[in-house]
């Protein structure tokens, strides 16, 4: 199986540790990963903000870069959501039947990390060790667009040493929403306030999720409050072992 990592532009630039963890985790499970350097951005920010004509070249690029792989894995529910759920709409907008066909052919092979592990590889115990109290926020796109279900929780529960605690009102949006966080900053922050209250109620020291975008929003709020709770991407927890402890 030829597997490509789609790291996402956001992780590439701001959260390289998540990309590194994804590679290390997959290699530990015996999956060789390729990282095609021609990849850039899936176009989600442009498309969801309304700059859809501008997103079309990025859709084409993604298809060209990844269509020869057997599987494409990304540590981001929302970017995979863009590819799987909205690329068909982008191809329609481009009025390009050939592109639409290539999108249809490729997208079933694009996976979010937790669904790739649990649903595609059938693994729940990845051999991780993480001696911390952790709560998990299911991000909206992995929950309602990709329907990853309890895959991330299964993975977390199998981690040795972890003190996993359920997040109250977990299904509710954290308020990030891409450019929504800036365009409607007041509403976004009001939603964040309630989400953080629930996080703090768990008394966890770490809040994890499958999307660094939501985590950057939540983590930024926690840091501003000096709450003493940090955010860590799921991939980094799963990549940690007794031999290799990442902070």
């Amino acid at each position: 199986m030829r597997v490509a990592l789609f790291v996402t532009c956001f992780n590439d630039t701001l959260f390289p540790e998540t990309g590194r963890a994804t590679v290390e985790l997959l290699e530990r499970l015996g999956i060789g990963v390729d990282f095609p350097l021609e990849q850039t951005c899936c176009g989600q920010m442009h498309f969801n903000t309304g700059y859809q004509r501008e997103a079309i070249p990025l859709v084409r690029r993604f298809v060209e870069v990844f269509e020869d792989y057997d599987a494409v894995v990304a540590p981001s529910g929302s970017c995979v959501g863009m590819v799987r759920e909205l690329y068909p709409m982008a191809a329609d907008l481009a009025n390009d039947k050939h592109l639409a066909a290539r999108v249809e052919e490729l997208t079933p092979r694009v996976f979010e990390l937790s669904e790739f592990l649990v649903k595609k590889l059938g693994v729940t115990d990845v051999g991780a060790y993480y001696p911390h109290r952790v709560t998990y926020h299911p991000t909206c796109h992995s929950l309602r667009m990709l329907k990853v279900g309890d895959a991330p929780v299964k993975l977390l529960r199998a981690v040795r040493g972890i003190d996993f605690v359920e997040l109250p009102e977990a299904r509710e949006c954290c308020g990030f929403g891409g450019t929504f966080a800036v365009k409607n900053a007041d509403t976004s922050i009001a939603m964040l306030g309630d989400k953080l209250r629930h996080v703090l109620d768990t008394e966890a020291e770490i809040c994890t999720a499958g999307d660094n975008s939501c985590l950057m929003h939540m983590g930024g709020g926690l840091k501003r409050q000096r709450a003493g709770v940090r955010t860590v991407h799921l991939a980094e927890i799963l990549a940690t072992t007794e031999e290799k402890i990442t902070p």
């Binding site: 390289p16 590194r20 390729d34 990849q39 442009h46 900053a185 007041d186």
Partner: protein
């Protein structure tokens, strides 16, 4: 008693969602009232839906029935006109709100009605019927308890189903004591309802004309239906000798059988009930029973434009249950007034801009009033993919600005930034250059491992959130160094 509400349907400029949301977010009483109400109904709905083993099939049936009806709307509308006329009713066609208001005022005047009683109807809010009637010297009395509350308070509805959801019972008690002249009133819901009942009973018995909206109308038989909880709708549609119904053209269903699906979907989704207390059906007029004159006014007011949009047309599936409002994290916090429309919440964010047309700053902001969390789509009983339509409308808003906004539209800072980023992302070399430039460019902003303040519109982020600075090494730099070469793989 009616007020001129400056909303998307009253013409003129309305404020952006961001501006009005900021005000309502600061209203702690509103936050408390609305948070409590939406959370309660959300939990109840989940219970009412979970006990249905075939809920998903029902949703699919509802969606399929609605989309088929919309595909052949022209045929079904003519069939409805024929059935209603055959049953002794009169059908009127209204291109827009103004025409509808003129028709309805004309009917009321022809019966010398100085006062009309109304069943809760958002279609009449959309056309601003009450204000129109007032200008014509006719007083419209709202008889739904919540509609009465906001009419007495001189406010507008903030929820599709529960118009006074933003008010709590002690606020309502004070209002009734002030406006209805009731002394010695408790804030017990039955006491409040009784006070309204005493006031309204007299109105029902005196009224010559009743005005209603419609939940459904059957093309085959001409039977119109109003679904309600309080019985005021039954009074309005049976007591006055003349009944006028204003109905959006999308409310039509082909046959009686189709009620089987919608009567299961609607009450559970809206009030979390297995069955609603009052469902009134009427077919034209019957001698010696109920109104002796029935008028059905069919309203377009932008609906055919919505129908012409392949992605947007699913919006017309809506049966106004308001489940999407009750689960929406944005609505729960901003309340309905922030949307500046008679249609608030997620459904309003897609319906309003389509009905009034793209290119109006106020309603153009509505598709952005969402984090795209998808909770609305999950509960919608007719499977309107609201996030998809929101994204589609955002595209239309931006393309309209770019193509018709002239130089100002193209020089808009957001447009300029998005164009530049799109160009950067389209080329890996430019993209890597931008990564390096950003790392260097951030140094004046980063202080002790965090960015606390960003300039311009981006300050919206740092007002309440720190930002992580860009790290020393990008992922791709790590990948290259690990694989021991600077070359592409």
């Amino acid at each position: 008693m009616t007020i001129e509400a400056p909303d998307a349907f009253s013409g003129g400029k309305t404020p952006n969602f961001e501006e009005t949301a900021r005000e309502s977010l600061a209203d702690s009483q509103l936050r408390r009232n609305l948070g409590k109400a939406t959370q309660t109904i959300r939990r109840k709905r989940a219970v009412a839906v979970e006990e249905m083993p075939d809920w998903e099939q029902l949703r699919e049936a509802g969606r399929a029935l609605k989309s088929r009806t919309l595909r052949h709307l022209d045929e079904y509308l003519l069939r409805l006109e024929e059935s209603v006329t055959r049953a002794g009713g009169q059908v009127h066609w209204a291109r827009d709100g103004e025409e509808a208001n003129r028709i309805i005022a004309g009917i009321a005047k022809s019966h010398d009605a100085g006062e009309v009683v109304k069943v809760k109807s958002i279609a009449t809010d959309e056309t601003k019927l009450n204000e129109h009637l007032e200008r014509e010297g006719i007083e419209a009395v709202e008889t739904d308890l919540a509609e009465l509350i906001i009419q007495l308070a001189g406010e507008t509805s903030s929820h599709i189903l529960v118009p006074a959801i933003h008010k709590n019972r002690s606020e309502i008690r004070e209002l009734f004591m002030r406006k209805l002249g009731v002394e010695d009133l408790s804030d017990d819901p039955p006491d409040l309802a009784n006070a309204a009942r005493l006031y309204l009973r007299e109105k029902f018995l005196k009224a010559k004309v009743g005005i209603s909206g419609a939940n459904f109308a059957v093309a085959d038989t001409g039977t119109v239906c109003v679904v309600e909880s309080e019985g005021n709708g039954r009074m309005c549609t049976t007591l006055p000798p003349v009944l006028v119904t204003l109905m959006g053209i999308e409310k039509i269903i082909p046959t009686w059988r189709d009620y089987e699906v919608f009567m299961q979907l609607l009450p559970r989704s809206s009030t979390a009930e297995r069955m609603n207390p009052y469902t009134t059906f009427w077919t034209g007029v019957s001698e010696g029973d109920g109104p002796q004159e029935f008028h059905l006014v069919l309203l377009d007011n932008g609906r055919t434009e919505v129908l012409a949009d392949e992605i947007g047309r699913q919006t017309l599936n809506c049966i106004r249950c308001s489940a999407c409002l009750n689960v929406c994290p944005v609505y729960e916090r901003t309340g309905g007034h922030a949307y500046n429309s008679v249609y608030p919440g997620p459904i309003g964010a897609i319906l309003t801009p389509q009905l009034v047309g793209i290119g109006k700053p106020g309603s153009d902001s509505l598709p952005y009033a969402s984090s795209l969390c998808g909770a609305c789509y999950e509960v919608c009983p007719v499977k309107i993919n609201i996030p998809e339509v929101l994204i589609h409308l955002r595209g239309k808003v931006v393309r309209h600005k770019q193509d018709e906004g002239g130089l100002k539209g193209r020089l808009d800072p957001e447009n300029v930034a998005m164009q530049a980023m799109a160009k950067t992302f389209s080329n890996p070399r430019l993209y890597e250059g931008a990564q390096r430039a950003a790392r260097i460019g951030q140094w004046p902003l980063a202080r002790s491992g965090a960015i606390h303040r960003l300039p311009g519109r981006l300050a919206g982020w740092t007002d309440a959130r720190d930002l992580k600075p860009i790290p020393e090494q990008t992922f791709r730099e790590w990948w290259r160094s690990r694989n021991g070469s600077g070359e592409d793989t």
